[in-house]
Amino acid sequence: MSTPIVANPGAGNPPGPPLWLLAEVTYKCPLHCVFCYNPVDFAQTESELSTGDWLRVLREARAAGSVQCGFSGGEPLVRDDLEILVAEAHRLGFYTNLLTSGVGLTAARAAALKAAGLDHVQLSFQDSTKELNDFLSHSKTFDLKRRTADLIKAHDWPMVLNCVMHRLNIDYIEQIIDLAVELGAEYLELANSQYYSWAELNRDNLLPSRAQLERAERITQACRAKYGDKIRIIFVVPDYYETRPKKCMNGWGNVFLTVTPDGTALPCHTAKMIKGIAFPNVRDSSINDIWYQSRAFNFYRGDSWMKDPCRTCPDKEKDLGGCRCQALMLTGDAANADPVCDKSPHHQRVLEAVAYAQVPDAERVTVKPLVFRDPKNSRALTV
């Protein structure tokens, strides 16, 4: 999900349409990735939206101006009505994207999705090294991903390969790039893990050292030169290494609308962690009301909510103060500046994590075990 969609021109007052609809159709997933951004308490989700609910969400979002629809999760292929949802999204005029681990994409389902009008498949890889891939995703999925990539090519879908990068796999970046080329991917997203949810729990194990990052960037540059137009490689460094924050989601309630498996509508994948805001549910409100009228979607729109240093910062429109969730996690208040910014009085929190990332694994005194994203750990961590 890192290719940016164009920002609404003149964002702010009144807001433009929710151009991007992310339909997280289920939290069920055969993988157990240690960097998953799904909420740590996902196992508490009781009832998933029905097929009928999702069809209504698609119609309402399209009428409100959504153009991109991503089917995500969890693993969206776990839902056996995915083809029905894709067909309706296609009929409505959405550009339809399937964000998948590839598990469950049989030849029959691929053909059905093609017939339903699916426009694009983004396939996630953990790493190109079979052993590490299986370790990081905690399942035997690597061979399957190769077969899935072949299916994607056979159905003539543009293929984006996505590999979340981190301390444990970043040293294999050259093998990952070579594999993406071999599989015929048009785009390769090598985005470093962002530290939310499960990735935040595992941050010390996942944040790469500066030397690792510099090496990875050098190799990426060399591969771009080597492969030219054959593949477009996008490399994103962890924002902990920046001194100015990202313009998260292109602004709160600006282009992006996530609907979670239970129907909660969010301005970003992880916003539900902000407990002070009651997020609306598509079972109770229309997409139009949620986007334009709800208190939640207006909460951090514009800049009137900002505190210092953001309020008086000349760059405030450039980054809108960064990420609300990151501000909450690292400072305790979502309205603070994202502490990635070196103007934040809490920037030290980020510097401490970065300093620890420079300590070689062998020299670390306490080693926290990796926490895999699965229902058992989810329940254990939610009390």
């Binding site: 999900m1 290719t3 969609i5 021109p9 409100a64 550009y95 994207n97 426009d119 543009p158 048009e186």
Partner: protein
Amino acid sequence: MSAAPGDAMADVPVAMDLQACPRVAKLFKLQWEEVQKSWVLLYPEGMVKLNGSAGEIMSRLDGATSIAALVAKLEQQFQTTGLQTDVLNFLALAQRHGWVKL
């Protein structure tokens, strides 16, 4: 991202075969968006919003109409002359972005 015909290259002559028949590249889906009142190009997880003139040109590409015929059509429809340079400049830009194939 939006595109304006002739942007930043108005004076650069573009070498392009006027008999070529451009089409929208396979990776992109071109459609009119009523809510945005504009033509947009959709591609994996992204969108390019086209300005008025870019939309008028792109929406007429069908892989069968030559550039020369396209220019004539536009000049007739908008009752003007001398559009060839603007059209060629835009097509060159669109080709560089991979939006059209000649």
